[in-house]
């Protein structure tokens, strides 16, 4: 009996220890995502906003906004979507002389509480930087009567004075990437790897294939997806990319988040397919040049939300906020192809020609959102 009692006592002790363990875990999981909200005063900001003012430099727009906010699902150190959104917002805030609250790492749960917090902290223009935030952000814009910038909701994301939708001609940038890829490929086979079912990824895959086909109608394009939501699946990214390379592709157009690094690792370490002497990687959204120690980054389809956010701020001042969709396109610098040292001059010349063609409308690129259609196109 004595033994029994001892065991119960230690059981209680052990229960305590478990709770301890759990607390550590819970606290740290939260921390890993960084609950910190950083408010940056503009004065301290030394972003590249000091770049030469644009030619049509508007008067220092008295937009009336003194405080704005941006929230993104993951931390803004990903050289991708989140970093792009946050940096663009900071840049615009500096331009219009407003304070900015940055809430990155906000996750994919219900964003309503965070939007409300940001409004309570005095944000006069909140950027809800994820298409998954769209529905809730439109609702909150109405409820809080605070203007919100919405991503990816099209007409549903427009409420005059309150909700301003922003869309991208993402396929235009990837069309240029397709040209660069087709010009660079030695095997005549290109690969597209996407991490998840994501409309943007599919739109861009289509543009890439069309651009490549514009150079060489017979070019082979292989497309594979890691998983339904394989954003963080780095091992899967490497595995799928290796299969695509083995299928003969020597230029990989990769779209993912954490999984992108698995794709890049595959490109860096792969045996080139026969006919090629190396494998190239084309990235999206951000500029990973500084991480490219092995020199495999051919180019990147870079997005820049700053012009769109600036247009939204201007629209707010002009009273046209939420009247019509703001587009990121090549003309306004929202979408572009990164010029790296690995792109030869004649490849770049072709890219330039196509860029002009897209701007003047002589090249039109359809927006394709179904994976099946893309697959039919590259068959």
């Amino acid at each position: 009996m004595a033994r029994r009692e001892r065991s119960t006592g230690s059981k209680a002790l052990a229960l305590m220890l478990t709770l301890l363990l759990m607390t550590v875990g819970l606290a740290l999981i939260g921390c890993g995502e960084d609950g910190e909200t950083t408010t940056t005063a503009v004065a301290e900001e030394t972003t590249e906003s000091t770049a030469p003012p644009e030619t049509e430099s508007t008067e220092p727009a008295p937009s009336g906004i003194t405080k704005m906010a941006v929230t993104a699902p993951e931390e803004a150190t990903d050289y991708g979507w989140n970093q792009q959104g946050v940096e663009s917002a900071e840049k615009v805030a500096a331009e219009i002389d407003a304070e900015i609250i940055v809430q990155d790492g906000a996750g994919y749960e219900d964003i309503t509480p965070i939007l409300r917090d940001l409004a309570e902290e005095g944000s006069q223009l909140t950027i809800a930087f994820a298409s998954g935030y769209g529905t809730a952000a439109v609702q909150q814009a109405e409820e809080l009567q605070v203007p919100h910038v919405i991503i990816g909701q099209f007409e549903q994301g427009l409420i005059p004075g309150l909700a301003q939708d922003v869309e991208t001609y993402a396929q235009h940038g990837s069309y240029l990437a397709g040209i660069a890829a087709a010009k660079t490929s030695k095997t005549g086979t290109l690969g597209i790897v996407i991490s998840a079912d994501d409309e943007n990824w599919i739109k861009m895959a289509a543009g890439f294939a069309l651009g490549a086909q514009s150079v060489n109608p017979d070019i082979k394009v292989l497309m594979a997806q890691i998983g339904q939501a394989g954003y963080a699946d780095a091992a899967g990214g490497k595995r799928v990319t290796e299969s695509v390379i083995a299928g003969g592709a020597d230029v990989i157009f990769g779209m993912g988040d954490g999984s992108s690094f698995g794709m890049i690792q595959a490109v860096e370490t792969a045996t080139p397919p026969s006919g090629a002497d190396k494998v190239w990687f084309i990235d999206v959204i951000g500029d990973k040049t500084s991480l490219d120690k092995k020199g495999v980054l051919l180019t990147s389809v870079v997005w820049d939300y700053a012009p769109a956010f600036k247009a939204a701020a201007d629209a707010l001042a002009a009273g046209t906020f939420g009247n019509e969709i703001i587009w990121l396109d090549i003309d306004n610098g929202g979408i572009d192809l990164l010029k790296t040292q690995y792109l030869s001059d004649d490849v770049w010349a072709d890219v330039e020609t196509a860029r002009q063609g897209i701007i003047d409308g002589s090249i039109t690129i359809p927006e394709i959102q179904s994976k099946a259609e893309v697959e039919a196109m590259i068959k």
Partner: protein
């Protein structure tokens, strides 16, 4: 599209299957040992994450082999907590396992972000070890017999576990600890010591599986990268009912089916990813319903052993 099926492509698919299956194999082997001894390790995924992170860090600063050892050690250290709580103190195994998982997720993501959150360093590929004659076999040779050495070690471990469980006194003790701990105790062998060994082995193999994933599989560690693999390994181990060879079959079937879905996509067969993910489990569930066989599990699985209590 048949011209796609070149030797290199088939080789990549088989390699891909091994790449996806190997972490499952290692972890499921570990789980098998632990379950045989009566400890259900639900925290396997946590041990894989710790192993993946620890292994990656060591590999980054030294070399991949020390990295794999580091991953193993990290898994063992994590299992030490399980040992103290579940085997020594007799606390509920499922709850401790889940607590370990949550903790491992938290710790690894915090450390990864602090250390590599802005640099994202990547490793070189592990050198490939060609088995002299076999690697020349057409079609299969390039993929099966031209792999990093750790892959052969992984396959060899199947034989080792099979042999230890089936043909050694240690294996007998392990099984006794899972089936009739009182009898083992009466025979003068410590149940706690036996189970402790099993738990540590599980941690080591789970950690090795995680390290394989980060060092060989991805060349980088990113938070949450195990992505449910630990739970799939548990399912494989349970379906294999304690037999190492079946663990091998299960893990490789799973890896190959994942790799095959990539192949289907590349030849343009469009199966929704959700269906691909679901199919193995649907198949197993249907088989269970149709055959309704008793999935064998050790009698004392999950129950802490306290001498004298009944």
């Amino acid at each position: 599209m048949t011209e796609l099926f070149t030797t290199a492509f088939v080789a990549a698919l088989i390699s891909g299957g091994i790449l996806a299956g190997m972490p499952l194999l290692l972890a499921a082997l570990g789980e098998t040992v632990s379950e045989r001894s009566g400890v259900l390790n639900i925290g396997l995924e946590g041990m894989m994450l710790m192993g993946g992170y620890g292994g990656f860090v060591v590999a980054l600063y030294t070399n991949p082999w020390l990295g794999l050892a580091g991953g193993l050690a990290a898994g063992v250290l994590t299992a030490l907590i399980m040992l103290v709580f579940c085997v020594r103190l007799g606390l509920d195994q499922i709850v401790v396992g889940i607590a370990l998982l949550v903790t491992a997720e938290g710790i690894t993501s915090v450390l990864q972000r602090a250390q590599f959150g802005t640099t994202y360093p990547r490793l070189d590929a592990m050198p490939v070890f060609q088995i002299p004659l076999l690697s020349k076999i057409p079609a299969f040779g390039q993929s099966l017999f031209s792999q990093p050495l750790i892959v052969y070690i992984g396959f060899a471990l199947v034989v080792v576990v099979h042999w230890v469980l089936g043909f050694t006194s240690m294996g007998l003790n392990l099984r006794a600890a899972g089936e009739k701990p009182q009898a083992l105790d009466a025979a003068g062998v410590s149940v706690v010591a036996t189970r402790s060994v099993a738990v540590l082995v599980t941690g080591g193999l789970g950690g090795l599986g995680g390290a394989y994933m980060s060092i060989v599989g991805a060349g980088i560690f990113v938070p949450f990268m195990t992505h449910g693999a630990g739970f799939i390994a548990i399912v494989i181990a349970m379906l294999a009912r304690g037999r190492a060879l079946w663990v091998l079959i299960g893990a490789m079937l799973f890896g190959m089916s994942v790799s095959l879905s990539t192949a289907l996509q590349l030849v343009g067969v469009n199966v929704p990813q959700d269906v691909v993910n679901m199919l193995p489990f649907v198949a197993v569930m249907v088989a269970l319903i149709v055959f309704a066989r008793q999935a064998y599990l050790p009698a004392a699985l999950g129950s802490p052993y306290t001498r004298g209590s009944r």
